[in-house]
Symmetry: C5
Subunit: 157 residues, 5 copies
């Protein structure tokens, strides 16, 4: 039985944790989900650490929605660095699902993007723990989570 | 008996530590507070480390007020990175309460913001140690500490 | 028997992992290749850590293709910092092969650059594990991976 | 008997180490000073580490004077990050006393600022090891080291 | 017998490693030199780690020549952070000798600067291991490696 951690925030304006959990449940069985909600993205590194150490998670999905101001970009950067550190301390993946408020043109698109990106990263998380060689088939294929895949470059040279 | 650490600075222009302590005391009992004041925000990471290691704190609230200049932004960034590192070394939360001097339009608003943000993060700290599942109810709800909550996105799609 | 790890992404728009593997195989024998594909560049640090710890790799080649936007530059920076940390934790090289989408004038050149840089770093990886003194002959020679070598400065002084 | 480390540089244009030592000696007894001079600010993190590990210092005062160019700002940032890391590795304070060349309007003011800031941080260091609760009285009081204190905000709300 | 490590790159356009070695040999005896050449500056942190751990170096001189583009500045920053981390992990100095291509007005000056800075840092390395108190005489004296020393500030106040 694998354990998947969901770390999310009260700062985010969309319940991405719910989307991720819903997607995971649609993909199969053989895992248990532990959810841990913290105030903001800068709390996600320690939330992930706690999910690994106290809840024995095999992988964590960390979801956050930084605002559009300069200070929010900096927070996202600081959180991302911390999340990479946790991963290399643990030797386990944290899939970081950040949706920047200014990526979408309006609230409707923001909700759509947050839901879709959370789901597509939930799929990635599922494959990384149950079938790690699955992603190899898509190496270099220009996949994106949320907006449409851009695909591989056209070469012909 | 839980121990809550308060790390604050002589650089800040508002006694946010006092606000946080006042708020904590209004919320319940079953905890002891240890306060540790240092010169500036860059001293907060080690102050938090000492609060965990020497004073056995279960959580720390780190409060600071960076100035509005470029060099102060950089100090805030360096402090924030260090505070994330301490958290993942300890597996315990440090709630970082920074109020940037240029977030407020005048000194009166600055004082109001510093007090309010300190209190709202003190609440978060209280829940994280006594009722960690409480915050889950607010996941994705667009909460803010200090200024008004922005709320979740309006979807309808 | 040496083990060479290949960490690459589904985000990249060219299969650089394949180029690196092809190049390695053309250079000699005495090694085994383990490939690990992850979603994006920020997953490369933990992928490299796993390749060292679980697959006993002696060296890793980490390949990624950050996009041209500001946020992609930041991701590349965060990934690079994490990849340096993994190396100093392990005392082993990770050759970081990043091709920024905006380095090339069109998709054809991008494909050419991705292939060439991956191959030239695969060569470097080969030398670093089988003949570490080889590179010393080229110290200060202005070598580049991908675009043409710029060569040493012309002095005469 | 406490041991206070002084880490300073040959790059700085004012002998801030001397100011710090002079100030410390004027404040009391019960401590020994160990001084370690390195080339530049980026050497201060390891200098501080050595002062803790080899010379058993209880606290370190790290003094440097970054130049006014972009590259100097980056060096100061890198040094500051390293100095925070040393502190959290050791659980001991390093008071970082940086005077940026462009903080002062001329060389006379630069010398005055370097001397004053070094002395005021030496005082902080003294209190942190001999009377750690002393600073609590000044929490939120808007203290500055070097230029005049800005004081707490005027509230009345 | 002390061991001095030289870590340099094939990316650099001047053989700074040679300058450093030449200078060291002119200064005295009682040491052995180990040289390790890697592709680029981002490989210098692990090269230094290997020089300490596998070759038992007492100090390392890390030499690199970042290009003038934004991406090269970022690489230099990432390398510098990693080199500071290695130092504090080991408690030993790595003297970082970076010559930015855009520091010099032409190739002739670039060669001159690279040679001179490498030599002056080789001197610093020599003193740090054989006579660590030597540098104290120059504390706050405004020394520079490469271009002319700027000297201490003129005070008179």
């Amino acid at each position: 039985m694998k354990i998947i951690g969901i770390a999310d925030t009260t700062f985010a304006r969309y319940d991405m944790g719910k989307s991720a959990i819903d997607q995971l449940k649609s993909m199969g069985t053989g895992f248990k989900i532990v959810r841990y909600t913290v105030p903001g993205i800068k709390d996600l590194p320690v939330a992930s650490k706690i999910l690994f150490d106290k809840y024995n998670c095999d992988i964590v999905i960390a979801l956050g929605m930084p605002g559009g101001k300069e200070i929010d970009k900096m927070s996202a950067h600081e959180a991302a660095q911390g999340l990479i550190q946790v991963q290399i301390m643990e030797g386990k993946h944290v899939l970081v699902v950040f949706v920047h408020e200014d990526e979408a043109k309006d609230e409707k698109e923001l909700a759509w993007l947050a839901d879709k990106r959370a789901r597509e990263h939930a799929e990635n998380a599922y494959y990384l723990i149950f079938d790690p060689e699955h992603l190899q088939k898509y190496a270099g294929k220009g996949l994106r989570q949320g907006f449409e895949d851009v695909g591989p470059v056209r070469e012909k040279y």
